[in-house]
């Protein structure tokens, strides 16, 4: 009789233990979820915050940013935004969208951004130097806007950049020498701005010709039509045999084959 009580007591304790264990496990799990869920949403929110700050700073008469809802956990369902498999933004495609206003430094928080397409709008203000943080950036297209101030030298840190098109803006200042470090650069267009100073021709810039720098009246050096102040005038081209002239269709004047600037 006593034995019966003992075994039933043991069974009760065992079940109590099991229930307690289950309870502990579930409460621990619950705590973990409580701790980590906000963290995941905070991470996603950083990209939501960054892009929403951009939306707030831009004027959008055509309501192209209407789907940019900041209450969503990530921006991957927003129109004109593309994400990767980890729900992180890789493309922002807002070309030709009649946007005006200015960009925001928070764009530097889009850690996985590869394509920033903001061309053909009316966006003004400076190019944020925080864009230099976008280590994965492949294409930066800000052409045909009203960007002013200098080209940030932080853009020289964008190791994977292949396309840098800042043409047809109101950019001033010199072309940062750091841009010649961009080894992956295939296409460069800085034409139609108000840049000044010497045009670099070393590093990755050895591939670029006058069309990349055209219509910047204050640029100087061998790729332009006037030498930089303080440097000697262009030496005469090396003597070539007189070759029969071929009539050209009357385009840009031929550059003189000069020695590199020191």
């Amino acid at each position: 009789m006593f034995l019966k009580h003992l075994t039933s007591f043991k069974a009760e304790i065992r079940t109590q233990f099991l229930v307690m264990e289950r309870g502990m496990v579930t409460s621990v799990l619950f705590c973990l979820i409580l701790v980590f869920l906000p963290l995941t949403s905070i991470y996603a929110n950083k990209e939501v915050d960054a892009l929403f700050s951009l939306r707030v700073n831009l004027e959008d008469p055509n309501a192209v940013l209407e789907s940019w809802d900041p209450t969503l956990p990530n921006p991957c369902t927003w129109i004109h935004v593309t994400c990767n498999n980890d729900n992180s933004v890789i493309r922002v495609d807002l070309g030709n969208a009649s946007l005006s206003g200015q960009l925001v430094p928070q764009l530097g928080q889009l850690k996985n951004l590869q394509y920033l397409e903001l061309y053909s709008n009316n966006i003004s203000g400076p190019i944020p130097s925080e864009l230099g943080k976008l280590k994965g950036l492949v294409s930066l297209d800000l052409y045909w806007n009203k960007f002013n101030a200098h080209i940030p030298n932080t853009l020289g840190k964008l190791r994977k950049l292949r396309f840098l098109r800042l043409n047809s803006n109101r950019l001033t200042g010199q072309i940062p020498m750091s841009l010649t470090n961009l080894k992956a650069l295939q296409v460069l267009d800085l034409s139609n701005n108000q840049l000044s100073g010497p045009v670099p021709n070393n590093g990755s810039f050895s591939l670029f010709t006058p069309i990349s720098f055209a219509n910047n009246p204050n640029l100087c050096g061998p790729l332009t039509d006037h030498p930089c102040p303080g440097s000697p005038p262009f030496p005469p081209p090396p003597p070539l045999e007189t070759l029969p002239p071929v009539t050209s269709p009357g385009l840009s004047p031929s550059p003189s084959p000069t020695s590199p600037t020191i």
Binding site: N96, Y119, S120, D141, W144, F163, R165, N167, V187, D189, S191, N201, S206, L207, F208, T209, P210, I211, P238, L240, E241, L243, V246, S248, P249, L251, S252, S254, P255, S256, P257, T258, S259, P260
Partner: protein, 270 residues
């Protein structure tokens, strides 16, 4: 008739969208290039007259192998497409062209000197074709050339020394052709900070010589050969005269022996 309606619609839409631009020079360039090339495997997709009128929409291109920049053809890459025919001189109308790659095809004919009008050309790769004729020295007018790659063709004539004046030239390959003459020092023995080209850029041309290729074996006889021939012929004449004397001696011996034989025959047997 049905062909023209979408064409006109295409033109109309282009009139309203800023990035869409047609360029008569690029159109002439592409039309002529398509005519001079022969495309037996039909690899040049979309290379039709309608597309030539408007090959670019801003930075995108409708033509296979073409890349655009600001509405102009910026790069042509038609490599390994079994193309035959020749390179049209009117390719020079693509004045914004920065890179031309027609490598690994079966192109024949010369490299047109009109390419000198491609003032923005930075990369020229015509390797692995069947191009003939000489390398035009006029290529030196393309002052921004970084790469000249003409290897594996049937080019003849000299390596133009004018190409040494290209200050941005960092890659140069004319190997495996039928070129002749000396390697100009401005290309073979570059001074200062200019990148140097080694023998592999020039080899495979039987009649090309000069630094950095190893010295050619001179035609004609060397001093050792002359001494050797002299000694050999002296020795040979010695041997010949010795054998002649031996033979003469043998003959006279035989003659004397014959006479002795006659005498022994005259003697009666006992």
């Amino acid at each position: 008739m049905g062909f023209y309606v979408p064409f006109f619609l295409f033109l109309l839409t282009c009139a309203y969208l800023p990035p869409c631009s047609s360029d008569p020079y690029d159109e002439a360039c592409l039309t002529n290039l398509k005519q001079s090339l022969v495309d037996p495997t039909n690899s040049l997709k979309n290379w039709t007259k309608a597309t030539f009128a408007n090959p670019c929409s801003g930075f995108n291109s409708y033509l296979q192998g073409a890349t655009c920049n600001n509405g102009r053809i910026y790069k042509l890459s038609l490599t390994n497409l079994s193309l035959r025919g020749s390179i049209s001189p009117f390719l020079s109308n693509c004045t914004n062209l920065q890179a031309l790659d027609l490598s690994s095809n079966f192109l024949t004919g010369p490299i047109p000197p009109d390419l000198q009008l491609l003032l923005n050309l930075a990369v020229l790769n015509l390797s692995s074709n069947r191009l003939s004729g000489e390398i035009p020295p006029q290529l030196a007018m393309c002052a921004y050339l970084n790469v000249i790659d003409l290897h594996d063709n049937q080019l003849t004539g000299p390596i133009p020394q004018q190409l040494g004046s290209l200050v941005r030239l960092s890659a140069f390959d004319v190997s495996n052709n039928r070129l002749s003459g000396p390697i100009p020092p401005s290309l073979g023995n570059r001074t200062g900070n200019l990148p140097k080209f080694n023998a592999s850029s020039f080899e495979g041309n039987k009649d090309v010589y000069g630094y950095p290729l190893p010295p050619l074996k001179t035609k004609g006889l060397s001093v050792m050969a002359i001494v050797g021939i002299g000694l050999g012929s002296g020795f040979l004449s010695l041997v010949l005269s010795f054998t002649a004397v031996c033979i003469w001696l043998r003959v006279t011996e035989q003659g004397m022996a014959g006479e002795e034989g006659k005498i022994s025959q005259l003697m009666p047997d006992y």
